[in-house]
Chain length 153, copies 3
Amino acid sequence: MTDPLAARIAALEDREAIRDLIARYGPLADSGDCAGAAALWTEDGIYEVGGFGSYQGRTAIRALLEGESHQQLIHGGAAHVLSPPVIDLDGDRAAARTYSVVFRKAEDGWEAHRVSANLWQLMRTAEGWKVACRINRLLDGSADARALIARMS
Amino acid sequence: MTDPLAARIAALEDREAIRDLIARYGPLADSGDCAGAAALWTEDGIYEVGGFGSYQGRTAIRALLEGESHQQLIHGGAAHVLSPPVIDLDGDRAAARTYSVVFRKAEDGWEAHRVSANLWQLMRTAEGWKVACRINRLLDGSADARALIARMS
Amino acid sequence: MTDPLAARIAALEDREAIRDLIARYGPLADSGDCAGAAALWTEDGIYEVGGFGSYQGRTAIRALLEGESHQQLIHGGAAHVLSPPVIDLDGDRAAARTYSVVFRKAEDGWEAHRVSANLWQLMRTAEGWKVACRINRLLDGSADARALIARMS
């Protein structure tokens, strides 16, 4: 790509695509589209969920979301809200850092059931940008959750 | 528009304008600018509010926000926070899906008073992008709220 | 800049840079990178914090974040979540309006400890876009917090 304007447009499009990818997680997870949510990852992508465990591959991630814990959550009333990401773009790779807040219906209103730091490793694939690894850690005061969203450069 | 770079820039600008339109709702609603909030919609746009009802046209939407329920809310301390949207652009039409969280001042801190799914139907008009229809449903476990933010394509 | 396409790209890049600048505050504040957070401001930038006071200059802002109140908060478990901003761009200056929600770990889940309106005055510098002034006011029903996020034009 030799046209400098085209390169600048491509960088904006990459950031837009990454923003879009991350924003799609919540609606897919909350609408119960487990296969759709898992397809945000690469075929062998990793989702490490604070307090739960580490899941590798679309099949494992889909099974996690089809499991009793997530299904009870969304059928009781839930919202997986992701914050605007900080995106560090590096060619065909990128890192993004976001907060995620899971709200859960309580008797009166909703409660912030999980508040987490998230580090996303993303890669450009033949299917567009995909999640190679998402690490989620509860912001409960632990040093490793704080370190996850620390400055990268 | 025959220049392919110009078409790519226009698509980015459309997404930016839609993001801007949606982000403006909260500050207008919370600052009490009821006419300004209503003007985000087309002249005969629809705002369907989960648990309240359906309002058509800027006059009706403005009256809703000038009503006792919304006025009490914002004078008691409130924030209408919209999440980053998922945007599906299709020429002069677009759909966007967001979460909305209404925080309300409580005795100690704030409570998540409403947590909702939102589907926005947007259209390009002579005044720029406007909301043709916004459907808001409480994420209280009901299937229709989950369906509202389900994958579109 | 005489190329009209280049001017449109530059405007998109400016909005992207401002979005990035604001999104970086939370992760820097929560990871305890007080110098990094202060460096989002201009050398003599202002941070007016609702309920706390007004701090001018990077040294003062860094000291605020190194202070006992902020340190206790982040070591107990906290997330400084900023909403998608409304950005009004004007050459080398810009204004942005956001919500900020500070979640704090409670015994069961997290509580919304602070919910605020924020007005950011931004300027283009030799180091890129920086915060000249950020005013934060608690959305507790007070008129001045509502006025802070009112329509600008």
